[in-house]
């Protein structure tokens, strides 16, 4: 073997090795959500593979919690949406600072136009914009916030729920810029501030001792109540709808679940599906 040939083989071998390394780095770089759930969040290791790339869908996992929000039912039950919001915000000790600049919300109301700005508003039928649309985190199958987070403080658990680790979050707010749904809020100031008499200033619904309060400087959002799901209860907002069926919650990837049947038999829409995030919250309009 002459020297030139040997050098060529050496280089070829090295490039192949580098290529292999690069391809694995590439997968690491883009697989996003699966990776985030693998590390450091005890007990929530993801068994499933990385979502398929190069197409607009994440791989269908076995388990993906999702929600169908039936807007006409909310319209028919005046005050029901507000009840859901109150239940959620009490359950999770969501502070109320009383001004839009510091605002924190996990679930809230908006009109059709501003909930679905990407849907056609051209010659919209009368009354559509008066419907109460409940908005919350979409727990995307392909969440850009999880991809953006530099510390894996936000991650997808093995039930497809996008969760926040309030203790790891450094407050860079990259996830807020990444979320195409405005679902994330930041603690611009200390939510635990107290009056002289010891009452908390910002927990308007009173303090729920069963859920931790947050500190300033971290991001928070809807988490589909994993602490309730763990003991067999539905999320607080879903429970607040009682038996109106205005919200249906469950595993959208289990064809036998109630929610899968609702999705199968109704025309539903999602917020900004063009972003390719695969939102898990569906709306019946």
């Amino acid at each position: 073997m002459d020297v030139k040939r040997r050098n060529f083989l050496k280089i070829a071998g090295l490039s192949a090795a580098a290529g292999l390394g690069a391809s694995s780095a590439f997968t690491q770089l883009f697989k996003g959500d699966a990776l985030a759930s693998e590390e450091g969040h005890g007990g929530e290791t993801a068994g499933h593979a990385a979502p398929a790339q190069g197409e607009h869908k994440a791989e269908d996992t076995e388990f993906q919690y999702g929600m169908v929000i039936d807007i006409p039912k909310f319209a028919a039950n005046k005050g029901l949406a507000e009840k859901c919001i109150a239940a959620c915000h009490y359950e999770h000790n969501v502070p109320d600072f009383g001004n839009p600049k510091d605002e924190i919300k996990w679930i809230w109301l908006d009109d059709y136009e501003h909930s679905f700005p990407d849907a056609s508003q051209y010659k919209r039928n009368a009354g559509l914009n008066d419907l109460p649309v409940l908005l919350t985190c979409n727990h995307c199958a392909n969440p850009p916030c999880v991809r953006a987070c530099p510390t894996q403080a936000t991650f997808k658990n093995d039930h497809g729920v996008v969760i926040m680790d309030f203790h790891r979050c450094i407050g860079c707010r990259f996830c807020m810029a990444a979320c195409p749904y405005g679902a994330r809020s930041f603690n611009w100031r200390n939510p635990r501030e107290q009056y002289a008499n010891g009452n908390y200033k910002f927990f308007k619904h009173g303090l729920n001792p069963n859920y931790p309060t947050r500190m300033r400087g971290v991001v928070e959002k809807c988490n589909f109540c994993p602490e309730r799901l763990a003991v067999g209860k539905p999320p607080a907002c879903v429970e607040a709808t009682g038996d109106t069926k205005a919200m249906v919650f469950g595993n959208i990837n289990d064809p036998n679940s109630e929610i899968a049947k609702v999705l199968n038999s109704n025309f539903t829409i999602q917020r900004n599906p063009a972003a390719g995030t695969k939102p898990s919250v569906f709306y019946i309009i």
């Binding site: 839009p100 600049k101 909930s115 530099p150 790891r168 979050c169 990259f174 611009w188 200390n190 995030t277």
Partner: protein, 384 residues
């Protein structure tokens, strides 16, 4: 060599203490922000990044701009940059230090910053930005310091520095590319979601960084008897002109795509920045001002007479720098949040606290630059 920064004229010390004063006041503002939270700033749920991140982005550009000296000098052996290249490298050091300070000022939980290293996350662009910025700081510190030290001892710099110099060139491009990736990879922000964001960043950086260096060199000529040389100035002028032309060409492309396609998502932010959207127009005046003076400055630089006259050359560089600072250090980041995902407009105004902290970071950058330049110029003066 550090001792050279400890001897200076009264004017030098007055300047140093002035900067220390600004840093102290800004430091007190930061203490307040640290205790109260980022609610002390003008940021909100809708505009969740403000001037800290905008200034950070701009300073990454200034840092990358240093390569416009390193590249001609070390790759093309352009001798006229011999005296000034070290200033470019030291400017990069000060600029990256400012980037790190701006990022830290923007964190809700700065004490947890090491979580980025503790839980390395390759799918987050912020992780890569941290790597490339710190790498660039390291490379410039190595190259700048070792080369200057060799000068000081009157010997040629050691061969082992060369790979670091060469590496620093693509690395400069990488810092601003990765910084653009922070923005242009986010699916919901139409204004940032453009493949030309990184080229735009680089073009604006290669105009703004050298412009600042020209201005600083002219000041140094007066206060420190440091003359970079006419040939170096003229070459920098050419580099600035081409970079500025590329920058405004890219901006024009954005305008064409938005207003010819008439896709609302592409138009909305430009509407907000240059015409006002839904009655909100707080950035219209600065953005129009930025575009106007930027185009005038670029046109001025096309005329050799203007470039050769020190006064008019300095004026065009100052106008261009201000234009690009408004464009990237204000409009680019804030614009990305308007309209928000609900198609609503929330305006942002920085608070006094926020401006005070930002000024302190600028002062800290200026102090680092002053000390490094003092050393560099003392060494070169000894040589001459």
């Amino acid at each position: 060599m550090l001792e050279k920064a400890l001897v200076g004229s009264n004017k030098y010390w007055a300047w140093v203490f002035f900067l220390l004063g600004v840093i102290t006041i800004g430091g007190l503002f930061y203490l307040y922000q640290f205790n109260y939270g980022l609610g002390a700033t003008g940021m909100s749920r809708d505009v969740s990044w403000g001037i800290y991140i905008a200034q950070f982005t701009f300073m990454v550009g200034v840092a990358a701009g240093g390569v416009m000296l390193v590249l001609p000098y070390y790759i093309h052996d352009f001798k006229a940059f011999g005296k000034i290249t070290i200033l470019g490298e030291f400017m990069a050091i000060a600029a990256v230090a400012m980037c790190i300070m701006f990022i830290t000022a923007d964190l809700g939980q700065p004490m947890r910053i090491m979580n980025v290293l503790l839980h390395p996350t390759p799918h987050s662009m912020l992780f890569w930005d941290m790597l490339v910025l710190n790498g660039y700081l390291f490379l410039n510190a190595i190259c700048g310091w070792v080369i200057l030290n060799s000068h000081n001892k009157g010997v040629h710099y050691p061969q082992w520095v060369k790979p670091f110099i060469y590496l620093s060139i693509p690395w400069a491009f990488s810092i601003h590319t990765v910084t653009a990736f922070l923005y242009c990879g986010l699916p919901g922000r139409h204004f940032w979601l453009t493949a030309i964001l990184a080229p735009r960043f680089l073009a604006s950086a290669f105009a703004a960084g050298p412009s600042l260096l020209v201005l600083i060199s002219m000041i140094l000529k007066r206060v420190a008897k440091f003359d970079a040389g006419e040939k170096a100035f003229q070459k920098l002028g050419t580099i600035i002109t081409y970079a500025a032309l590329a920058n405004f060409f890219f901006l024009g492309l954005e305008f064409f795509v938005a207003y010819y396609s008439r896709v609302p998502g592409h138009m909305h932010t430009l509407d907000y920045l240059f015409w006002g959207l839904d009655g909100h127009n707080n950035l219209v005046l600065p953005m129009r001002f930025s575009l106007t003076i930027g185009l005038i400055a670029t046109t001025m630089l096309l005329f050799p007479q203007i470039k050769r006259n020190e006064g008019t050359f300095a004026l065009s560089c100052a106008m261009l720098f201000l234009s690009l600072w408004i464009d990237k250090g204000v409009g680019m980041v804030l614009g990305g949040f308007v309209p928000n995902p609900f198609d609503r407009v929330t305006e942002y105004y920085p608070t006094v606290i926020e401006i005070g902290i930002s000024l302190a970071v600028w002062a800290a950058g200026a102090l680092i630059l002053t000390i490094l330049y003092k050393i560099a110029i003392s060494v070169q003066a000894k040589e001459a």
